[in-house]
């Protein structure tokens, strides 16, 4: 008798699927990857339950944690990856550091909208970097690749520099990695479905990405 398929938690609407990585990138950066899931919700006003979660998180995260953040394994792994791809993690902070900086400056995690709040909670709990796209504007599977020569990017007048690392679907780039996103792929209050993508780099275990996606998906339904 074959083993029964593991039951998905109620918040999983679609099991997380790995994205593709172009061979030239996979060869250079072993451990680089994407893990994606689709949530049947868009953005919009944050419910009170989500705001309460943010308040609790604000109480748990203070200056001491912010100072020691870069010594924790996952935030350190993202910082190292930033160095490897030519970014300065102090000038362009990693997602978890950006959120903690905002927390320190604002005195608390400020509620913005349902999606942003969900990403803040998931990122701060796990350290993993999460990106969100309007699932209905994405064509095919999501992946990581280098930009082609003179490839255009929505929102830019000039083409992308050759060899820029981008998050792309099977037709076009959707985001410059850890940078600007294509406007048409952004999640808005009118979006029906959200594609959440967690970015994996060397040193970040897959379980952290799964947990981050699960937390974000759960928070979007709070």
């Amino acid at each position: 008798m074959p083993p029964a398929a593991p039951e998905l938690p109620p918040e999983w609407e679609s099991a997380p699927e790995p994205g593709w990585v172009a061979p030239e990138l996979a060869g250079e950066f072993p451990g680089l990857g994407l893990l994606c899931t689709v949530v049947e919700a868009g953005s919009g006003r944050s419910p009170e339950a989500l705001k309460e979660q943010l308040r609790e998180l604000s109480n748990r995260f203070a200056g001491a944690q912010a100072i020691n953040l870069r010594q924790r394994p996952i935030p350190w792994a993202y910082r190292v990856f930033f160095r490897h791809i030519g970014l300065d993690p102090d000038g362009t902070p990693t997602p978890v550091e950006q959120i903690s900086l905002d927390r320190m400056k604002g005195g608390r995690f400020r509620s913005r909208n349902r999606l942003d709040d969900a990403i803040v909670i998931a990122t701060m709990e796990t350290g993993a970097a999460i990106r969100a796209f309007d699932a209905d504007s994405v064509n095919g599977r999501l992946g990581l690749r280098l930009s082609a020569p003179k490839e255009s990017f929505e929102g830019r007048t000039s083409p992308l520099p050759d060899g820029t690392i981008v998050i792309a679907d099977e037709q076009r780039p959707l985001e410059i990695l850890f940078g600007a996103s294509a406007k048409s792929a952004l999640v808005t209050a009118n979006s029906k479905r959200t594609l959440l993508a967690a970015i994996q780099v060397k040193g970040v275990p897959e379980i952290a990405l799964e947990e981050a996606l699960w937390l974000a998906a759960s928070a979007m339904h709070a």
Partner: protein, 201 residues
Amino acid sequence: MAELLERPDLPEELDLPPEEELGNLPPAPPPGLDTVLYEHDDGLARRDLRRQIAAMEAELGELFASAFPRAGIEFQVAGLGGPRILSVDELEQVRDALAARLQDVKGELHDIGYVEEKHRALIERMSEDPASHKWIRVSNEQIGEPGCRHWHSRPRWGILGMIMGWWRVKVSSGCPLARGVAPPAKPPSFTSSDGQQAPAT
């Protein structure tokens, strides 16, 4: 070797080919010799540089945490414009910049640590002999500690203590208590729909 030196038939100088002939050497190995020995693989060098960068980033993170609450130390290392795959030269630049920054930070922390140690010693001397350290004040910041505490050598009972030589080191109790949001200057006035103010209760 001595026999060779005594042989008169050997020329004293080697007949080297003219320089233009040296310049005609092929830039690449001849066909058939392009074996693995001649292949140039940057991948290994890049991997090794990335490993070095990772180790330096970890060390810089430790220094960042240990430097708190000291302010004014520069930890930033400029990026090279990304995100993209960096070449060996570019990775070397990142590695060298990180190494230089580590040296700077260690040097600064060493200097700051030396001054802080001097201040700690001063506090001990003040405590032992306050009269010899009149009016000297050392703060927590000067010994690299967080908080607002300070040690102040001052006379007991003001001028009388000053005249009588009753000096002591007073340790402040810490930072002032946080204050809440200030109340509004005046209570809000309630205006009824016909424009008349509600009577104050």
